[in-house]
Subunit: 363 residues, 2 copies
């Protein structure tokens, strides 16, 4: 069975298709569109594992491979990719396909949004994280030396195909990291979905097909509901950043090296955000315990000292000031009021942040 | 007297203000907006001549200077500017002001469109070309080694202030180059405006204030009418590229060195486009003569051999294939059907292009 979600953004609307063995859906789309040229941007790891599946349904395309990993979202790669597609003769009727995880989606999406001031692009995510997060909602970005995702655009794809087949080869660590974003949707928006996850997380983490598809579908539904209301993140969309302000300081400090994966950082960040919600009196201790228990049951590391024994707290504090959400040096965090209801908390005192940091980091 | 034009693009609407001594209009705007930080991006030449005028009305800003000239629209400058504003702590409530000619507007506008996925920006054009063309309509861009303006975005400013004071120091050659774009609006859209220009060109080229302001106002009106109907250049907006496909091949071949200014290239390009219109039977010889006579009276060089004695025709032919408007290797040109009425001509035979090239270039 195939799920379809339509993201409603007037003339920029598009479909997300979710299911197993649905990669040939791209053929139906291409027959209608008649692109002059197709470019597939992927990473070397995905190409090795899955390119043969794409080649079964796509007959004529230019392939561009980049190295795997967050470091590929650099200015240098961005300018190289722009030059490469221009050199190969991209025109305004061309299509760029992002075939890979979140790094590829962000990078190829940004290239698509600015080459010739924008050409069509399609997302074919190959990681759980990309299926439920980065391929939905139209945010593209590269990293700057001053932080993650600081240069980018809001640019919607024309189609997203989440084929669960690609997830079968995903290592358990990466798969579980993607689950952190699924959990996030339950926490910020939908208590029934959280309860579903709390009941079924073991089977989902074992990639049990029907439960996994349902989880991806529900995650995309929630994200699309939020994004349709607030495409450019002037308000409610910021709720999707639950746990992310905390997550980014650890990712920045480890220089996106893979020492902590994005989803792992988000799990840790959600634990810290929930603790801040407790400290600030937004939630009670039972609710706090329930969420922390779920994170522990899933095996997420929510003690930063188990990742690295000595963090430089001063650096972590510096990183929080660079967060895009912060204006005029006032801190903003996404916190919980209950399971299923997140709020944007502005003007948080730096001491409340420092307290959390001291509670989580022992040195 | 001050003119005001409102560009209607729903939530992206903005005003263009045109007049003499109107730079203090920015104060009124800033009082309402309350930006957290203001960055002024300018070139060294403009800074030397006009920064003191801006400092009279703007009290607290970060200044970033780049070298003057088209070569500043490079990947390198783009990434440097992004890094500089990030280093200086830009946030989502910050403002970027593009203070200069078309190069600064294109470059600073592109930076504003992608830093933190978009911050507000204001255009204060200091050249005639920027007043009537690049500061209106929201196209931003940098150049690639494969051609001009190939990387960029559609991104609208929040305000444009054309203060004629800044034009007083503009060298005659640059001023006249800007006039070519004014002439373009008459040719593609408004025969009355063309007749007005044909009658008054001498006084306008001498910067006679009232006639100049009227010319800028009418040019911006025409551009805004076209852009409001077709922001992303899916149709009619392409008419604004009249003369530009030809112009770009000479600019690319001279490597944006200033050997031929953009407006000069457009004047030459319009002469070639008018000749193509004649060759293809769209206009009669009288009309052709009338336009060529106007270009000659203004002193535009419409014989490429007077710019450079030996052009490499093969290179010029290669450059036309890189034009953004061309799809599937079919050539598209903007041609005239009459004065005041341009058309998009698709599927032009390469031989029709070669014929024009041979007529204009003698070697």
């Amino acid at each position: 069975m195939k799920n379809k979600i339509t993201i409603n953004l007037s003339e920029r609307s598009y479909d997300i298709l979710i299911g197993k063995d649905i990669i040939d859906e791209i053929s139906h789309f291409l027959v209608i569109k008649k692109y002059s040229k197709i470019f597939v941007i992927t990473d070397k790891n995905v190409a090795k594992l899955h390119l043969k599946n794409l080649e079964k349904v796509l007959f004529n395309f230019d392939l561009i491979e980049v190295e795997s990993g967050e470091r590929s979202k650099s200015f240098e790669n961005f300018s190289n990719l722009c030059d490469q597609v221009l050199k190969k003769g991209i025109d305004r009727k061309s299509l760029i396909i992002a075939f890979g995880g979140g790094v590829i989606g962000d990078l190829a999406g940004f290239v698509a949004s600015v080459v010739l001031r924008g050409v069509d692009f399609i997302q074919i995510p190959t990681t759980l994280l990309a299926c439920v997060d980065s391929s939905v909602g139209g945010k593209t970005a590269i990293n700057s030396r001053y932080g993650k995702n600081l240069i980018g655009s809001f640019y919607q794809p024309k189609l997203v195909i989440c084929d669960l087949n690609f997830l079968t080869t995903l290592p358990y660590r990466e798969f579980k990291a993607g689950y952190a974003e699924i959990l996030k949707y339950g926490l910020i928006y939908d208590i029934d979905f959280f309860n579903f996850l709390d009941h079924n997380y073991q089977k989902i983490l074992l990639k049990e097909h029907d439960l996994l598809q349902k989880s991806i579908y529900q995650s995309c539904l929630i994200k699309s509901a939020i994004v349709s209301k607030d495409e450019k993140e002037n308000g409610e969309r910021a709720l999707l950043n639950f746990g992310h302000s905390f997550a980014h300081i650890f990712e920045t400090e480890t220089n996106y090296s893979g020492e902590i994966l994005h989803g792992e950082a988000v799990a840790l960040g959600m634990a810290m955000a929930i603790k801040m919600s407790l400290n600030l009196g937004l939630i009670n201790h039972d609710l706090y315990q329930k969420v922390i228990a779920h994170l522990n049951k899933c095996g997420f590391i929510i003690n930063p000292n188990k990742i690295r024994s000595n963090w430089h707290k001063e650096n972590l504090i510096q990183h929080i000031y660079k967060d895009k959400k912060n204006e005029n040096n006032k801190l903003t965090f996404i916190l919980l009021e209950s399971i299923g209801k997140a709020v944007i908390k502005k003007n948080v005192d730096i001491n409340d942040f420092l307290k959390i940091l001291n509670e989580f980091i022992e040195n």
